[in-house]
């Protein structure tokens, strides 16, 4: 087990290193840099002032040197200074992390609860009207992008209720009700899409397990239907579901970018787009690394969860 964990950790480290190179190079391959943007939109171009700013921001150095400096700074816990806002990048990013984490957590809870429950019910009532209805529901989730659903929620609220959640972040300490109302709609928009895939995998995995001999045996011994489904079938059907949940987490980050914008939540995902557009390298590359790190960590956790969910799996054997 220990060897397996070490192997996975090593793979994660190599992945993160590869990611750091890719992020660093790709960001700089995009035409234009922050100095270009600041000066050319200003209209008046003084070449000496432009060169001075490039020197001040360090974008005039060779790309390899910039990369080494970045790694060194990150190792020392220094995320650099935002080019655009002229303040430490961490100061800009820090207050946004809890917002995105909370939204992601809520969305994944909604996706998992809704997806697994509807998947199980759909499998247990295969080919019934309920099954068709739930499959249609999941098809809707797969077809609708979360940002579009978010917009529809906003339009519905404005048109029918004449109300929308606060446009400014409300902390739970300040007003718990307003806080929850602010998060529940975007979490629903993102979570619904995630639930659709989980539902389909749960259904197909459950259908496979429900045909196994040990399920027939449990039923033959007179066990009631729902304990058979949840205690025996679902646990054995969980492996592919957990894998999909891991994937969904990665996809969810993409969904959050636009959903945070639509619901005006001051999260990391929304800010990342700004940082890329402004070529604010310190902020953009650190945010992408942070997101990459979260995805790698989730996938690692999923790998480790396999052993717990299915004791027959023995790592490194």
């Amino acid at each position: 087990m220990l060897v397996y964990i070490l192997q996975r950790l090593l793979t994660a480290l190599v992945t993160l290193f590869g990611m750091s190179v890719l992020i660093f190079v790709l960001l700089r391959l995009v035409p234009g840099d922050i100095v270009d943007i600041i000066f050319s939109s200003a209209g008046f171009v003084n070449p000496a002032a432009k060169a001075e700013l490039a020197r001040e921001l360090g974008v005039d150095r060779p790309i390899a040197i910039q990369y080494v400096h970045w790694l060194k700074d990150v190792a020392e816990g220094n995320l650099g200074k935002s080019y655009r806002y002229d303040v430490p990048a961490w100061q800009v990013v820090k207050p946004r992390i809890p917002v995105t984490l909370e939204l992601a957590a809520l969305a994944i809870v909604i996706a998992v609860v809704l997806g697994i429950f509807t998947g199980v019910v759909s499998a247990a009532r295969q080919d019934s009207a309920l099954d068709y209805a739930l499959r249609l529901l999941s098809l809707g989730g797969l077809s609708m992008p979360s940002f579009w659903l978010g917009m529809m929620i906003i339009f519905f609220l404005v048109s029918w209720v004449g109300w929308i959640p606060s446009m400014v972040y409300v902390s739970p300490r300040e007003d718990l009700r307003a806080h929850l109302l602010q998060f529940i709609f975007p979490a629903l928009a993102v979570g619904y899409r995630g639930s659709a895939l989980i539902m389909r995998i749960t259904r197909s995995s459950m259908l496979e397990v429900l045909g196994e001999d040990y399920i027939r045996t449990a039923r033959a011994k007179g066990q009631r239907e729902w304990p058979v489904i949840f205690r025996h079938a679902l646990r054995n059907a969980m492996l592919p579901i957990v894998t999909v949940i891991g994937f969904e987490f990665a996809f969810m980050i993409g969904g959050l970018v636009v959903t945070e914008t639509v619901f005006n939540l001051p999260g990391v995902a929304r800010y990342l787009v700004d940082a890329i557009l402004w070529r604010d390298y310190p902020v953009a590359q650190n945010l992408v690394m942070l997101i990459g790190f979260a995805v790698v960590a989730v996938n690692l956790s999923v790998d480790l969860l396999y052993g717990y969910l299915d004791p027959r799996i023995r790592y490194g054997a």
Binding site: V30, P31, G32, D36, I37, I38, F39, S40, S41, A42, G43, F44, V45, N46, A49, L53, R84, Y85, D86, V87, Q91, V92, P95, M151, I154, F155, L157, V158, S159, G162, W163, I164, S166, M167, V168, Y169, T261, V262, F263, N264, P266, R270, Y271, D274, L277, W278, R279
Partner: protein, 533 residues
């Protein structure tokens, strides 16, 4: 008799009651927080270092100018300039000196007194005079003050701008939202992250990328102002969300540069109580041809290109009716320097579309282009929907005279750099002008060597005319000269003007005294704004 007497008494009482109601309704009320909207976080709070309305709009409430365009008058001109930190001003030495007499009762938000040294510090910093203590990181408006030779602040309550030559526009530029007075006792670099002004509002809180909260300055030098207790500028990036927030009453006023007509009208249809104001943004749409390329050096070629475009079609198809035709300067009724309509109609490109297209084809044939050898070039534009819409329309117009052009969409981040380096054939562009003033427009966009003169148009004679108009103090005489320059620039194909976009501001009727001007950069002080709630 008795009945008549009663009727007279009742009508008198009625009139008094009506007058009292009207008076009460129009008497400004103090208090309340205005929920205003921004579309992005300001890159910094330092107005002198920025070129975006996202900085000027919220930060204007923190500062004062020497003089300002009257926030309650729609049209900005020399006649609508009112005093702020300067109580009065006068031209001396035949227009070569401009003296301002300053208020003596003004304090900075930190309690320090305001003096003429602050004025000198501000404009010496902007014009990068020798011996300045702090330098601006980016200095976009240094050119505005190129004609200032020195600033004399030898007495605390007066300041003299000594000019190299008379310049009628200096006062207009000083009245712009882009010309606040900075405190001499605070390094300019610190003003990027905070605002310390003399203005009606102080900065209470800034949540990066989310909210700017201003609070009333209790020591403001104008007694009884501001009316509001504070302003919350909420940053809402998504346009649909911004309109939803306005309709739901979360926001009282939209972002002031919401130019699109359709969403504003849709908001008004959903919430009929909203008021809809049509205004101008002082932004013009135009087509640029790259004059550094041999293909476009021939005036016949430029004439053919401009004749190919139906301007009325641009208003309808490109801007969905939300634009007016005009030349280089903003036309009336929004602006004061534009060509009269009758004159503008005589400019090639603004006449009968069918006749002009036939003429364009004839000119192209004379130049050797036709169905067997079509003229080909790329049309570049910013990858922003409104730009792409207009570019799509222009490409179709070109196609109708046999020009084969392809669209190149350029990301905003590199657009200006690409244009400055003249890496384009033909471009569809929009340019916003700060104050509606010939100097602010002509020097930046048409003078030889200016970085923003994207087409690289250069004429010694035109440069001389631009200098000449700048020195004419008498308004009517200057207007004639500016009109002549406007016409000439269009005839030369320096920029193929299409028109000027209009904005549609939807807001709640209880918001009083937010009066959209013809330039978005000059009316964000908020001193006179009040809420009739």
């Amino acid at each position: 008799m008795c009945r008549r007497f009663h009727s007279l008494v009742f009508s008198a009482l009625g009139s008094i009651l009506f007058a009292a109601t009207v008076f009460a309704a129009q008497t400004p009320k103090s208090g309340g927080i205005l929920n205003a909207t921004l579309i992005e976080a300001p890159p910094s709070f330092s107005i002198h270092e920025e070129v975006t309305i996202s900085t000027v709009w919220p930060m204007m409430s923190c500062y004062n100018n020497l003089v300002l365009f009257d926030p309650l008058k729609k049209q900005e001109s020399l006649e609508t300039i009112i005093p702020e930190l300067a109580e009065k001003w006068a031209l001396q030495d035949g227009g070569k000196s401009l003296i301002f007499f300053l208020r003596k009762d003004v304090k900075w938000h930190d309690g320090q007194p305001f003096t003429s040294k602050d004025v000198k510090h501000t404009f010496d910093t902007v014009r990068e005079a020798p011996g300045i203590t702090g330098k601006l990181r980016v200095n976009p408006r240094q050119l505005w003050y190129e004609n200032v030779e020195s600033i004399d602040a030898s007495t605390p309550d007066a300041v003299v701008f000594r000019l190299k030559r008379p310049q009628a526009s200096l006062l207009l530029m000083l009245a712009s939202g882009y010309s606040p007075i900075y405190p001499a006792h605070v390094p300019v670099s610190e003003l990027r992250a905070k605002c310390l002004g003399t203005g009606p509002f102080k900065l209470k809180e800034y949540r990066q990328g989310e909210l700017i909260e201003m609070v009333k300055n209790p020591d403001y030098f104008v007694k009884g102002r501001p009316y509001l207790d504070g302003i919350r500028y909420t940053i809402i990036k998504d346009r649909s969300t911004r309109y939803a927030a306005l309709q739901a009453g979360r926001q009282d006023i939209p972002f002031i540069w919401e130019v699109a007509r359709m969403p504003a009208e849709a908001a008004k249809r959903s919430v009929p109580k909203l008021t809809l104001t049509e205004s101008s943004t002082n932004v013009n749409d135009h087509v640029l041809v790259n004059l550094t390329k041999p293909l476009f050096k021939d005036p016949k070629m430029r004439l053919a290109i401009t004749l190919a475009i139906d301007r009325q079609g641009y208003v309808q198809a490109g801007r969905q009716g939300a634009a007016i035709l005009g030349g280089v300067m903003l036309p009336r009724p929004y602006g004061v320097w534009g060509l009269p309509e009758a004159e503008q109609k005589k400019v090639p490109g603004f006449g009968d579309p069918a006749k002009q297209k036939a003429e364009a084809k004839k000119l192209l044939a004379e130049l050797g282009y036709g169905p067997s050898k079509p003229l080909k070039f790329t049309v570049s534009t910013r990858a922003i929907p409104i730009y792409v819409d207009i570019a799509g329309y222009i490409i179709d117009q070109f196609r109708q005279v046999g020009i084969e052009s392809t669209l190149e969409q350029v990301e905003t981040g590199v657009w200006h750099a690409k244009m400055t380096r003249r890496e384009f054939d033909v471009a569809v562009n929009a340019t916003g002008i700060g104050p509606d003033d010939p100097d602010a427009n002509l020097y930046e966009n048409f003078k030889c060597g200016s970085a923003r003169n994207y087409s690289a148009y250069c004429s010694e004679e035109m440069d001389r005319l631009i200098e000449q108009q700048s020195q004419v103090i008498e308004r009517e005489k200057r207007l004639k000269l500016v009109n002549a320059i406007d016409k000439r620039l269009q005839l030369d194909g320096a920029r193929m003007m299409l028109g000027w976009s209009k904005e549609y501001v939807a807001m709640w009727p209880y918001v009083k005294n937010v009066v959209p001007h013809q330039s978005i950069y000059n009316y964000g002080r908020m001193q006179e704004v009040w809420l009739d709630k």
